[in-house]
């Protein structure tokens, strides 16, 4: 009895199975890098990671989450290396011995962006705290609300302004990454706090302008750490260490400084590993 449909289906399935075996067979050493959405959304890691993979033959799995989640992954040994920007939160993990070999990699700064006509008069503030007070009084604010480094920075700014963010009537949390949050702020004609790099890389598609910048409290510092193998035996320390050495090496530091500078006319990140 001829059953052409069955034979054809069987052949298709056999091919699928063979292909999948091939796909899963290639195992090369890999590490998990838990990092922030800002390094991912700006495209910086897309530019750096392939260089490292090519030079060292180590695959890097970049998991872009908030800094809080990245640190928790390190704390449970679910990541090998973290690139994060919330020094306060990082310190706890260094003290507990989960993170070692910390190195300063780079910085940029946070800016408060909002509708170009600045309805809340944020730009008139003398400090970041003034700006937050103006937003609380007259503006709408969209928060990351995702326990990220940017979210931590925002909460610190509310603290400096002595305002309880929960009491700000027109403040909403997106629970999403920086790019998505900027889009939402744009659509709702709201203010938000963003790292300069992500803002610059999305600026052409947003109707948002910088409303406040320049306060030293808005400095945004990125550190890289390896997860301590003595505490989490399943982690890959030597490969993580190689990635750290790569990030702080002179050619890569230089590449960070010029990353997309030709596109935006200014640097998205400023390398720090060699200067101090």
């Amino acid at each position: 009895m001829a059953r052409p449909w069955a034979r054809r289906l069987g052949a298709a399935l056999a091919i699928a199975l063979a292909l999948s075996t091939l796909a899963f067979a290639q195992a090369k050493p890999s590490i998990i890098l838990a990092t922030t959405t800002s390094t991912q959304d700006s495209g910086l890691l897309d530019a750096l990671v392939p260089r490292f993979e090519k030079a060292r033959g180590i695959e890097v799995k970049v998991i872009a989450v908030g800094t809080g989640a990245a640190l928790r992954m390190a704390g449970s040994g679910d990541a090998d290396v973290v690139l994060v920007h919330a020094p306060e939160a990082e310190r706890k993990y260094v003290e507990s011995g989960d993170l070692i070999d910390g190195r300063l990699v780079m910085h940029n700064d946070f800016v408060i962006v909002g509708p170009p006509d600045d309805p809340a008069g944020v730009s008139k503030g003398k400090s970041a705290a003034d700006a937050m007070r103006a937003i609380a009084a007259r503006g709408t604010f969209v928060s990351r609300g995702d326990d990220s480094g940017t979210h931590a920075q925002e909460l610190a700014l509310w603290g400096t302004a002595r305002i309880d963010p929960k009491a700000v009537a027109r403040r909403e949390e997106t629970g999403q990454g920086m790019g998505a949050t900027l889009n939402i702020a744009d659509q709702k004609r709201a203010y938000t706090l963003t790292d300069r790099g992500t803002y610059l890389s999305l600026r052409s598609r947003l109707g948002l302008a910088i409303a406040f910048q320049g306060d030293p409290a808005l400095r945004n510092v990125y550190h890289v750490y390896a997860v301590n193998r003595a505490k989490h035996p399943k982690t890959r320390y030597s490969e993580a260490r190689a990635f750290i050495d790569f990030l702080v090496s002179p050619p890569v530091q230089q590449a960070i400084g010029v990353f997309k500078r030709d596109v935006y006319g200014e640097s998205l990140f400023f390398p720090d590993a060699l200067t101090r």
Binding site: P4, W5, L9, F24, G77, G179, N183, K234
Partner: protein, 210 residues
């Protein structure tokens, strides 16, 4: 783009295949055998047909993450982890549709086939042939569900650009980056892919109509 399309087909195709291998026999047994708790089991399966993929993804993540019970397998953030999650989403769908389509056949058909001299294996095969309209619906529903699913793939695959980014997670990434044209294009490709697969299965289903 091509890589993402092939990867999407590979992961969801393999998960569907595995779900068929497990789900069709299971659905057959549930439909044909009577045992204690059968209705309860069918209720569980039918609930599973509507199981939120993101919950499945979360459970698989907890199981496969390095500090989890199966962490030593090193499967988290791989295509294999995505296949596991999608398999778990697809299997109840296959079981449910299979059970329904087998039950739609005359309950005396197996005896009849045996009387006509068909062996055990042959009987099963002929039954599957009789039920194939429903079985192919099962395959299409399962593949359609997992190829369009985003939550579980994002959580267990990690949306890695060169290994685990599939069409749905790529759409999320491009949208979040504000690359709306690219996101829309990927959406069209996903629709086209779904259409081609379903059309192929429909041709198979209709060509050998009894």
């Amino acid at each position: 783009m091509t890589a993402i399309v092939l990867r999407t087909l590979l992961v969801s195709g393999l998960a569907t295949l595995l779900a068929v291998l497990v789900g069709v026999p299971a659905g057959y047994l549930i439909a044909r055998r009577s045992f204690r708790g059968r209705t309860l089991l069918l209720g569980v399966v039918n609930t599973g047909m509507g199981m939120p993929p993101v919950v499945v993804g979360l459970i698989v993540w907890v199981m496969l993450v390095r500090s989890g019970p199966f962490g030593d397998l090193g499967l988290i953030y791989t295509q294999a982890a995505m296949v596991v999650a999608q398999f778990l989403i697809a299997t109840p769908i296959i079981i449910g549709f299979t059970a329904a389509s087998i039950q739609a056949l005359s309950p005396r058909l197996p005896d009849l086939l045996t009387v006509l001299g068909a062996g055990r294996v042959r009987t099963l095969w002929l039954l599957a042939r009789e039920a194939r309209l429903g079985l192919l619906v099962a395959v299409m529903a399962a593949f359609g569900a997992i190829v369009s699913e985003v939550g579980a793939s994002m959580i267990v695959g990690g949306n890695l650009e060169r290994s685990t980014r599939v069409l749905t997670t790529a759409i999320v990434t491009e949208t979040s980056r504000g690359e709306i044209e690219r996101a829309l294009l990927l959406g069209l490709v996903l629709l086209a892919l779904s259409f081609v697969v379903n059309l192929t299965l429909t041709v198979v289903q209709q060509r050998s109509r009894p």
